[in-house]
Amino acid sequence: MQYLLLIYSEPATEASAQSQMDAEMAEWFAYDEAIRKSGVYVDGNALQPTATATTLRLKDGERVVTDGPFAETREVLGGYYLVDVPDLDTALDWAAKCPGARYGSMEIRPITVFDQG
């Protein structure tokens, strides 16, 4: 099954010390390398901050484009991994290893498989 591991965190309000940022980046690089080598990795990306987001809706066929994310919440989506694993427990194991689980929270969503039959 494919699962999207969504990485949520609260946006940093102030810049952290360079040494701390380096340590965090090292954790992310280590995780990224581990998940890519494991064979479960399908895709993964970090997202630009929500300030760069644009929301689009169609109202009566007309595009309504607005600045910012759809809803204001404390935790915002910062990136994701798409993994292919046998079951939820395995997906949870990968989510638990992700540094995002310590700095924020991980949401695990199965990918819908549309029945071809």
Binding site: D87, D89, A91
Partner: protein, 427 residues
């Protein structure tokens, strides 16, 4: 076979349902289909067995019948997934032959493993807590949807919906049907134990409604704990949980008087406690306590055992109980443990010492809406001859209490405190 003539469907159903379903879920990989063919097989048994006699291996008979039904249904579905499922079910023929052999052949306990799988799937932490309890009562205890609905005091339609949604989540989220590995087990077992414990506590202090005690629910919890203990005999917390349930349940008959009113532990007629349950619980708790450090269920069971061993309330070894609460606080700290410890301290060292701890706890605020805190304060204030303060605490407890029988008890205490306090003056 005695007994099942009275209500054959119920007896067959309850005895075999959990086992049958557990194996069928693994074979067909689908709760709904497993449930449907299990029900068909049991209906067939109810029809055939009184005529043909009960087969030598009733479980294998039911499994064979259910398997045939599953293949029939899957063949009719005609899609790719169903074809795969048929192949898988056909491949289980060998296993079925093994299952039909006599039980004491020393082979692996296939059905036991399936039931354990079912426990871990139904109690998976990715499911909502109330869904876990509902699934466990429905699929492991074998209660009907109507009975599970009664246990939760919700309409049957609501419960049916809750079960459907829970099963959908199991399928759609890919919650696996397997027993966690030895390294995962410590992380996953507490959720399973907690489901059984919740069923039991709900039986004991029905959180809302008229009945103080729902014995049928307590019986289910003990039955589930026994199944778990058979499946995981070396897990000390499983042993501890079964011990705890037995040691508390032993007092069931003495806990409510003839009028259906609550009787506190101190006032219970101890000759009405069930000696067999006490003895079984004691043996289990000694076993569970051998594991160091003892787990939270084992410690709670030990506390229950100290109460059960005292011939009179006055003879209770309160210092030992305080010591056990200290250990419990180290293992599983919670405000409720602090509350119970404070009550034990009041018994061991006097009401003033207990009240000081309760005041501290009340100041923390976590238990502000928890009526047992206010009831405990009220009782200690009563004992300290401060009836006017006791009245205030009793009123708060009554306001928060959802159980009719318990509220009636608190109202009686309130009336007594009010008469001691005299008419309210105009301070």
């Amino acid at each position: 076979m005695n007994g099942w003539a009275a209500d054959p469907a119920e007896a067959v159903f309850r005895e075999e349902w959990g086992r049958l379903l557990a194996t069928l879920v693994r074979w067909v990989g689908d709760f709904d289909l497993a449930e449907e063919v299990a029900a068909d097989a049991i209906a067939a048994a109810v029809e055939r067995w009184p005529v043909d006699g009960v087969p030598e291996r009733p479980g294998a008979w039911l499994l064979t019948t259910a398997r045939r039904r599953a293949v029939d249904i899957l063949r009719r579905r005609q899609n790719y997934a169903a074809k795969l499922a048929v192949l898988k079910v056909e491949a289980e023929r060998d296993e079925l032959t093994r299952l039909t052999e006599p039980a004491d052949d020393g082979g692996p306990d296939v059905i036991g493993d399936d039931r354990l799988r079912l426990f871990f799937t139904c109690c998976h932490p990715a499911l909502a807590a109330d869904a876990r309890v509902a699934l466990t009562l429905r699929y492991l205890a074998g209660l009907s949807t109507a009975q599970v609905a009664r246990a939760f005091l919700v309409p049957e339609g609501t419960m049916a919906q809750r079960l459907v949604r829970a099963k959908q989540k199991i399928g759609a989220a890919g919650i696996p049907y397997r027993v966690p590995s030895a390294t995962e087990l410590p992380g996953r077992l507490p959720a399973v134990l907690s489901v059984v414990y919740v069923v039991f506590t709900e039986a004991y202090a029905a959180s809302n409604g008229a009945a103080l005690l729902r014995p049928e629910l307590a019986d289910e919890a003990i039955r589930l704990a026994r199944i778990l203990h058979r499946l995981l005999p070396a897990e000390p917390e499983v042993t501890g949980l079964l011990a705890l349930l037995l040691l508390v349940d032993a007092r069931r008959d003495a806990r409510v008087d003839d009028a259906g009113d609550l009787v506190l532990l101190d006032d219970q007629d101890r000759s009405r406690w069930d000696p067999a349950e006490v003895a079984e619980g004691r043996a289990l708790v000694l076993d569970a306590l051998r594991h160091r450090p003892p787990g939270a269920y084992a410690l709670q069971a030990a506390i229950a055992a100290v109460h059960d061993e005292a011939p009179t309330a006055a003879a209770t070894d309160w210092p030992q109980i305080v010591g056990l609460y200290d250990a419990l606080r180290a293992t599983a700290p919670s405000p409720v443990v602090d509350l119970n410890r404070a009550v034990a301290v009041a018994m061991a060292h006097g009401p003033a010492a207990g009240l000081a701890l309760l005041d501290e706890l009340a100041a923390g605020g976590a238990l502000d809406r928890f009526h047992p805190l206010h009831a405990a304060c009220a009782r200690l204030l009563d004992r300290l001859d401060r009836p006017a303060d006791a009245v205030v605490a009793y009123r708060r407890a009554i306001e928060l209490c959802g159980n009719d029988a318990e509220r009636a008890f608190l109202l009686r205490c309130l009336a007594a405190a009010e008469s001691r306090a005299g008419p309210p003056d105009d301070r």
